[in-house]
Symmetry: C2
Subunit: 352 residues, 2 copies
DNA sequence: CTGAAAGCGCTTACAG
DNA sequence: CTGAAAGCGCTTACAG
């Protein structure tokens, strides 16, 4: 059953072994034995033999035959990093299926989880055109380069990475940072900071740059050297970071925090020393957790628009299917804003 | 491109139209035109014609042909409710892919999202054996009944629902409730309650029963009429519910709460009136959010073991593939315990 | 009750 | 540079 070392066993093998014809075996195996009035005895023999050699039908052959009069579906591959199978994937899939519904597409979605750094394993499936199209998320630079060197003929969309060769859909991180600044009520704010991680990617650095630029253009002091480089998320680190920063900065201030899991620590410190959010400290977190909204003050967040990204990616594949694209399409999307009390802005809920 | 109304267009159509042979067209379409030295002109003609008739290759035919010497993969269908595409799906997929890796299986995973109440649409795919096996999650009773009446030959595992006909994997909710009671430090606890929803399913009622039974067997008073029937999750409802309940109950008490999104409201009320968790109130929430652990006190939770369920489901399918099962297999799993400070137990982290 | 034959749509040697 | 033929593994009329 799918074990790599399993031998190739087919209906013909069973038929030969039993001295029956291929059709008889096929009928029995499909559960139509009674219907076609194959003797109970023969049926039993077939079933046993199938069991014995661990027969697994070739689904592709079956489908090719059965679906003779149907339209062949578009087989879409979604490559996703194995270490990142979380709610973001759920929302991405939601986007895919919504689009499928909306446009009445006939798509079969195959999810392939790959070990980070081990994408090459799947390269052959792409270059031998085993899918109608593919979306690839979470590739590292080397892998992307290797993929770009092989000329793949099926349309490919990169999710969250830019490409000169293939299509791509990403979040506009710089503008996100900028707009987060705009989302905060910056009147009266004296200083601003971006709380990011030590080891981080291009997207976070862009967001930081955008945020600082946005604040400065409102005459808010924002020095890059203020921004802490956090090692990882924890309550204590959130608490300590807040403590340290607030001792340096002049209230009120505005923060964009790279990970909402720092929220509890930061908010606890504020509570402990009587810093009022949003009066003294405006704050927006990156990435969303349902619990943020249930906090008091309700905490603001910006999040990757996974659903929109899926939609765009699928749109691109459709387009690429309909007309051979010479130039890669590139779409940059804005995030999902959950602007709530902590930002200092009046309105609850969606900013846009 | 996958549109339902698209006409069936094949290589042969292109070949006929252009007065070329099928092989020439095929070679060009696969990007091997230069390699086989098809004239540029012919290539262009082919490509244009393909574009024009919006040609989409039949992936099944291609695979059948190409993979002649490979073993055909096991095609696994995962049916998931469209309105539930969240992090639970992510963890479920993680379980699947881990098992695939561990057992070195060759499986192609097809994800099918279905509209709740509309599962029947996919019935034909199951009864015509278009998959090697299927996992079905989130079915309602009618749908399950309809599916059980059709005799499907491919192995099927229900996720989260019991069945007399097909295999099933579920969480043991009653025992979960019981064990939650056991997880709390019940010495000195005077009363206990289960905070559940107005409209809810069998699983939650079982958990409630188990929890109350568990508390009572430790001589903790637990009256079913104390248990509130919550309408939905919000900060305010959490706050008000806590207020109301704590006015009736004698401290210290133990609570199992059906939804962690009530946590912020409940904890805020406790803070406001000086109720100390876990000294006065032991508390465990159902379902997990990363933010729970980052609270102080760190909040305990029990969560659906989606990953384990996926593993078990795949194990069952493998078994069913290897030997024709006459009796449905049924596996009940225990949840994931994240027992932290709020339960009153000493140890941090995993209970088991 | 069982078997021989056709054919699903494609790719790949092979021949020219 | 292009075409004719074989064949992937299966199911489905059809014939007996």
């Amino acid at each position: 059953m799918g074990k790599k070392q399993a031998s190739k066993m087919q209906i013909k093998n069973i038929a030969d072994k039993l001295g029956l014809s291929v059709s008889t075996v096929s009928v029995v195996l499909n559960g139509r034995g009674d219907q076609v009035r194959i003797s109970k005895e023969t049926q039993k023999k077939v079933l046993n033999a199938a069991k014995e050699i661990n027969y697994q039908p070739n689904i592709y052959a079956r489908r090719l035959r059965q679906a003779a009069n149907e339209e062949a579906p578009y087989v879409l591959a979604l490559f996703w990093r194995r270490d990142n199978l979380n709610s973001r994937l759920g929302r991405f899939l939601e986007g895919i299926f919504q689009t499928i519904d909306l446009k009445e597409l006939k798509i079969e979605l195959v999810v392939q989880a790959y070990e980070p750094g081990n994408f090459m394993t799947y390269m052959d499936m792409l270059s031998s055109n085993r899918f109608s199209g593919a979306m690839i998320c979470g590739l590292n630079e080397e892998e992307q380069k290797a993929l770009e060197e092989r000329e793949i003929t099926i349309p490919i969309v990169f999710i969250g990475r830019d490409s000169q060769i293939y299509h791509s859909v990403l979040m506009d991180s710089y503008r996100t940072g900028e707009e987060c600044a705009a989302c905060m009520n910056l009147s009266g704010v004296k200083s601003a900071a971006f709380l990011g991680f030590e080891k981080t990617g291009r997207a976070e650095r862009l967001m930081e740059a955008g945020f600082l630029f946005g604040c400065r253009s409102h005459d808010v002091v924002a020095k890059e050297e203020w921004n802490p480089r956090i090692e990882k998320s924890s309550y204590e680190i959130g608490y300590q970071t807040a403590k340290q920063m607030l001792s340096d900065m002049e209230l009120p201030t505005a923060w964009l925090v790279a990970d909402c899991r720092l929220a509890t620590g930061i908010m606890a410190y504020c509570r402990d020393v009587g810093i009022c959010v949003p009066k003294d400290l405006r704050i927006i977190f990156f990435e969303n957790s349902p619990l943020l909204r249930y906090n008091r003050p309700a905490l603001s967040s910006v999040d990757i628009p996974s659903q929109e990204m899926a939609k765009s990616a699928l749109d691109i594949l459709i387009l690429a299917g309909e007309s051979r694209m010479d130039i890669p399409i590139r779409r940059e999307l804005l995030p999902i804003y959950q602007i709530r009390e902590s930002s200092g802005l009046e309105q609850e809920e969606n900013y846009k």
